[in-house]
């Protein structure tokens, strides 16, 4: 509901109607308005008939693993340009394989190196997708 309200307010500020027809905020205002009405409907429905909507289990049931993955992904996004794709992915894969607890430490290191180098070769060299080299630029 709050999001819908915010959409309406921002759209209203953008002008709903211009001289030549509907303005930049016209569609957003309509979308936000309907979204608000629907959210209100669902809110009231849940308020008066609370048993009707069931949640598929508690949120973050397996908190530790999901939060760990999320943190590692944020780390990847933050350091991608600085560390470069190969090193950044290697560290993330190392962490992900380690938390999955399915391989021995030397297999984890070996697999992570292979995948990060192999994927760089495939995407950057063969498929011409620009992936940052970061600190490894010096090796070029």
């Amino acid at each position: 509901m709050l999001l819908a309200l915010a959409i309406c307010i921002f759209s209203f500020k953008l002008s709903l109607y211009a001289r030549r027809g509907p303005g930049a905020g016209f569609m957003g205002f309509g979308t936000g308005g309907i979204l608000f009405l629907l959210s209100l409907h669902l809110f009231l429905k849940n308020l008066f008939f609370p048993n009707r909507e069931t949640l598929e289990g508690p949120i973050l049931k397996n908190k530790k693993i999901n939060v760990s993955i999320l943190s590692s992904l944020i780390f990847y996004a933050l350091f991608l340009e600085r560390l470069g794709y190969i090193l950044d992915l290697f560290l993330v894969l190392l962490f992900l394989f380690a938390i999955s607890k399915t391989m021995k430490w030397y297999a984890i290191i070996g697999t992570s190196i292979l995948i990060s180098l192999g994927s760089y070769l495939l995407f950057s060299t063969f498929l011409n997708i620009g992936l940052p080299l970061g600190v490894l630029k010096v090796l070029r």
Binding site: I7, F10, S11, L14, S15, Y17, A18, R20, G21, P22, G23, A24, G25, F26, M27, G28, T31, G32, I34, L35, L38, S39, H41, L42, E53, T54, L55, E56, G57, I59, L60, K61, N62, I65, N66, I69, L70, L73, I74, Y76, A77, L80, E81, L89, V92, L93, L96, F97, S100, K101, T102, M103, I115, S119, F123, L127, N128, I129, G130, L131
Partner: protein, 500 residues
Amino acid sequence: MLESIVLGFSICLQPFNLSLCFIGVLIGTLIGVLPGLGPGATIALLFPITLGMSPASAIIMLAGIFYGAQYGGSTTSILVNIPGEAASVVTCLDGHQMALQGKAGPALGIAALGSFIAGTFSVLGLMILAVPLSNLALKFGPPEYFGLICLGMTLIIYLAQKSVEKALISGLLGIFLSQIGIDQVSSAQRFTFGLGELFDGISMVPLVMGLFGLGEVFLTLEGEISKISVITRVKNLLPNLQDWKDSIWAVVRGSVLGFLLGVLPGGGPTLSSFASYGIEKRLSKRPQLFGHGAIEGVAGPESANNSATGGSFVPLLTLGIPTNVVMALLFSALMVHGVQPGPLLIKQYPDVFWGLVTSMYIGNVILVLLNLPLIPIWVRFLKIPYQILFPLIIMFCLIGAYSERGLSFDVFLMILFGVIGYLMRKFEYEPAPLVLGFILGDILEESLRRSLIMADGSFLIFFRRPISAIFLGLGVLLLISNTIPFLKKRLRKLEKLEVT
């Protein structure tokens, strides 16, 4: 048309494109076989591979991935009883029962051969329908497009597997997300909060990879990943004469029904496989066998969902309107490669259109020739633990999100949409209407604004033009029909109260 078909084959049979089709089918099956990964997620994950290719080559490979993933999903349904996606749910019912009875071979065989027959039928249907429909679509103005998209969105929401209200909210959120960026008409910045990365809007790839790839990983890892039991003994892949007798009409009916439902906005593989199963059960002389290993319960839905795949290409390629998530992904893939799907596609990019159509046929042949002998290998892949797979899925998501625009910002967006996708599944919101709303939002807004400019701001233009009035009327009827059961329930409750 013959010239165009020859052109299509000349493009598709080029060694490079042929090998792409082959690799697409192979990789698509490989990933589609893995439990929990349907065609949508598979295409989203493998999309970056096609970025460096020409439009025709890219779409040929993506179509191959789509076919492969669709077929891979059936293998998982039959051997593991885990549907890769909604369209394969029905295959589990009888397919897995057949596998338990030692008839996994004929079940997989009829699924592949039925899909091949249905695929061939739908390619023919696409070739026949595409040109006249494109010519008709050229006569469509903004009000007609607006009406058609509204009807399509309504159908998608109406057919939602869970709550209709939640599907509507999901679709509206998608429409809202499509508005982020600089407005094409007034050049005003909308919902960008001054972030330069948002001036061009949100990119499709991080959105889809987050919602489908990462969101699914979060959800799967949350549950207990127990060892799944895979049926490993697969023999006698070719169905015998009795199997064919039992299933041939199911294949024929499934092919026709699937194609017709695939053409409908909101239709597609899921709806057609469920409809086909219902029809086969009703027409069968032995309905008691359904759910206990009836071969026609595998043949019909498998043919229907494959035929629907071809059918779904009709509105995408002729009207420029994707009718389901996979088509939305292919739509955005074409857009990324600078090809605008729609009525002018056949004229402007005959190589893309006819190359795709013929590749669908060749892809179907490769599917049958390749997949049946490789089933023992797919069975082995099914045994890879998810703990090893999920880092690889995440890696594809990370590369995909970055590769389109080369921005770390898109990786953040993908992570954000991954969390949103996870929460949506938790709260029983379907992500598919969001993606469709996102894709169709731009066209919807453009046609609405252009129509209102044409009519000096009068909304009556949508009802004065007969085609748009019909589309909108049908949409309203659908929404009203959805409230009838609710009203009936209320009335019954009131009656009960009055009696007591």
